[in-house]
């Protein structure tokens, strides 16, 4: 667009910027404001209470449980989703007769609507009818009746496995595309120098994908930290808070009990986590930008 048409540039931008400003940027501030007011189902008129809700939050043991659950959930889902996603990308990068077909199939879990995936896994984990117990009984590892989602000891692990199944295809597709961008000449040069497959992977392939890996880690961390559907449908945060994470707690407080203020204090912490991750994201991008400029 020419300089004289700069006004037109803004006309083109306004339809996208207005909803994002009003429904995403304003609510970031709105959540912080909300956390200073107390409401409840019985007393729906907001009352200014200052930092009182934060004091109650830190005094309650629940906050610690939810931070801990969120950490376990996020770390394990992100780590294994990316490790498994990367391994699958390496597998599908090889030319086998079935690789093309598998590249199509691999996205299926990701395309499946989240609530449907959660219901499907709830059914897989069903103590009486579920496929998982059925399989364990058949191979003789269990007498059956294991209630994966109802036991505090296994519920979080079960939810994590389901989330990895749903999420790994996204990482696979991103890594597969990045693998296809790796400089073939460098890889061949390393082969000629006698580097085996493992050393080529560690010293040539992964370093050249570093930027994509970091960005994907940050993105999946944010998406996982805020992933509501899977846990809500599987366990609603139970049993005994064993699987409650930030988004499920916010929903329960806000829309289950109409305690908007308390829900907002949790929201403020989610936003802080976002701020840290965004800082990492832009650092990774600018570091990547410098590297590619250095390469010329």
């Amino acid at each position: 667009m020419h300089k004289r048409n700069r006004w037109l540039a803004w006309v083109f931008l306004v339809p996208a910027m207005i909803p994002v400003a009003i429904l995403m940027y304003y609510p970031m501030v709105g959540t912080a404001i909300e956390s200073f007011y107390s409401t409840s189902f019985i007393n729906p008129n907001p009352q200014f209470v200052g930092l009182e809700l934060y004091r109650e939050l830190f005094a309650s043991g629940e906050f610690g449980t939810i931070v801990w659950n969120s950490c376990i959930w996020t770390v394990f889902v992100v780590l294994f989703q990316n490790l498994f996603g990367f391994a699958v990308a390496l597998l599908l990068d090889r030319e086998l007769p079935t690789s093309g077909l598998m590249r199509s199939l691999v996205l299926l879990p990701w395309v499946l609507p989240g609530v449907v995936a959660a219901i499907l896994w709830r059914f897989m984990y069903d103590p009486q009818l579920g496929l998982i117990n059925s399989f364990l009984v058949r191979i003789g590892l269990s007498g059956g009746g294991q209630a994966w989602l109802a036991e505090p000891a296994t519920a979080m692990g079960a939810a994590i496995v389901a989330a990895i199944w749903k999420g790994f295809p996204f990482s696979t597709i991103v890594y597969l595309a990045a693998l296809q961008n790796v400089d073939r000449e460098q890889v061949e040069a390393a082969t000629i120098d006698g580097a085996g497959a493992w050393r080529r992977l560690i010293h040539v392939v992964i370093p050249s994908m570093r930027e994509v890996i970091v960005i994907n880690l940050v993105l999946t961390t944010m998406l996982t930290f805020n992933y509501f559907d899977m846990i809500w449908v599987l366990t609603r945060g139970g049993p005994q808070n064993a699987t409650h994470i930030f988004p499920t707690k916010i929903y329960e407080l806000g829309f289950g009990q109409f305690r908007f203020g308390e829900a907002a204090t949790y929201g403020v912490f989610s936003i802080l986590v976002l701020a840290v991750l965004l800082a990492l994201y832009f650092l990774a991008r600018s570091a990547g930008g410098r590297r590619s400029m250095a390469r010329g």
């Binding site: 020419h2 048409n5 803004w10 083109f12 931008l13 339809p15 996208a16 910027m17 909803p19 994002v20 429904l23 940027y25 304003y26 609510p27 970031m28 709105g30 959540t31 599908l92 086998l96 690789s99 598998m102 199939l105 691999v106 996205l107 395309v111 499946l112 609507p113 989240g114 609530v115 449907v116 219901i119 499907l120 897989m124 069903d126 009818l129 496929l131 059925s134 009984v137 597709i173 991103v174 595309a177 930027e211 994509v212 994907n216 930290f225 805020n226 809500w232 930030f246 988004p247 916010i250 806000g254 829900a263 949790y266 929201g267 989610s270 936003i271 986590v273 976002l274 994201y281 990547g288």
Partner: protein, 276 residues
């Protein structure tokens, strides 16, 4: 394309078989249970395929309220796809063609919003909808969905448009096209694959959106499919045959669209991811 030894190929083939099982067994089971007659009991260990497959669960699942949920999902998703893609095209065009400092800042702000936690900001959004008297309407969902899908849509289309050379615009200008005509007659037709990829992405996201739909709709008449099927668990106890039949029906539209437009979709998604 890499060649491997025979042993290596065998190991890789085994890996792909394992992968196929991990992906497909849950799907296979979903379909299998959806075809199981209500009279055939669940056996332990589970039988993998019903003796007498039947479509009766599908007939039961397609009850009147399910049709309402389906219609609601279609209205909300299609409106979102059309509006988001249009707005995103306009914005992406500006972001790739006019690069003043202020516009670049706006771009970073809009694109950063794709990571915003929906649950953390839902309460102020809910209150805005309530004061605008929009709760329990299509408008509340469409507005929320446009907002959450725009940042990613812009990100994908910008990566796509950045590959169209600026010389195209200049040539069009020399031929006497105004900027609007350049956009509509020259740029848009070239963006078709990018538009397809972005539309599929927005459709997949909105078709399954759960949190906003759960919070903003309060009557059965306004529920979308994900909320509807979640209600279905509590309402009737867990009748897995019907539940799995409903699950298949909900998944079919997105899975079908995905397979039809898969090539463009994957190219579009990864172009965005690789360019950052």
């Amino acid at each position: 394309m890499r060649r491997s030894s025979t042993l290596g190929r065998a190991v890789l083939a085994l890996g792909q078989i394992m992968l196929a099982l991990i992906i497909l067994v849950p799907f296979f089971w979903m379909v299998s249970v959806s075809l199981k007659p209500a009279t055939e009991p669940f056996a332990i260990p589970a039988r993998l395929w019903p003796d007498q497959p039947t479509l009766e669960n599908y007939a039961t699942a397609f009850r009147p309220e399910f049709r309402i949920y389906f219609l609601n999902s279609i209205v909300v998703s299609l409106s979102t796809v059309v509006i988001t893609v249009s707005f995103a095209l306009l914005a992406a065009y500006t972001f790739t063609r006019t690069q003043t400092r202020l516009i670049l800042i706006c771009m970073s702000l809009v694109i950063a919003a794709q990571m915003f936690p929906a649950s953390a900001i839902i309460i102020p959004i809910y209150k805005l909808m309530r004061s605008a008297d929009l709760l329990n309407t299509y408008a509340s969902l469409i507005l929320a969905y446009i907002t959450v899908t725009l940042p990613v849509a812009i990100w994908m289309l910008r990566a796509f448009m950045a590959r169209l050379p600026v010389e195209l615009d200049e040539a069009a200008a020399i031929d006497g096209c105004g900027p609007l005509r350049t956009f509509f007659a020259v740029i848009l037709p070239l963006c078709r694959p990018g538009i397809a990829a972005t539309a599929v992405f927005v459709l997949i996201v909105t078709w399954q959106e759960f949190l906003f739909a759960l919070s903003f709709t309060s009557t059965r008449e306004m529920r979308t499919l994900p909320v509807g099927i979640n209600d279905f668990i509590g309402q009737y106890g867990i009748r897995y045959g019907e539940l799995m039949a409903s699950s298949v029906l909900i998944s079919l539209p997105v899975v079908a669209v995905f397979f039809l437009l898969q090539r463009q979709f994957v190219a579009g998604l990864t172009a965005g991811a690789l360019r950052g």
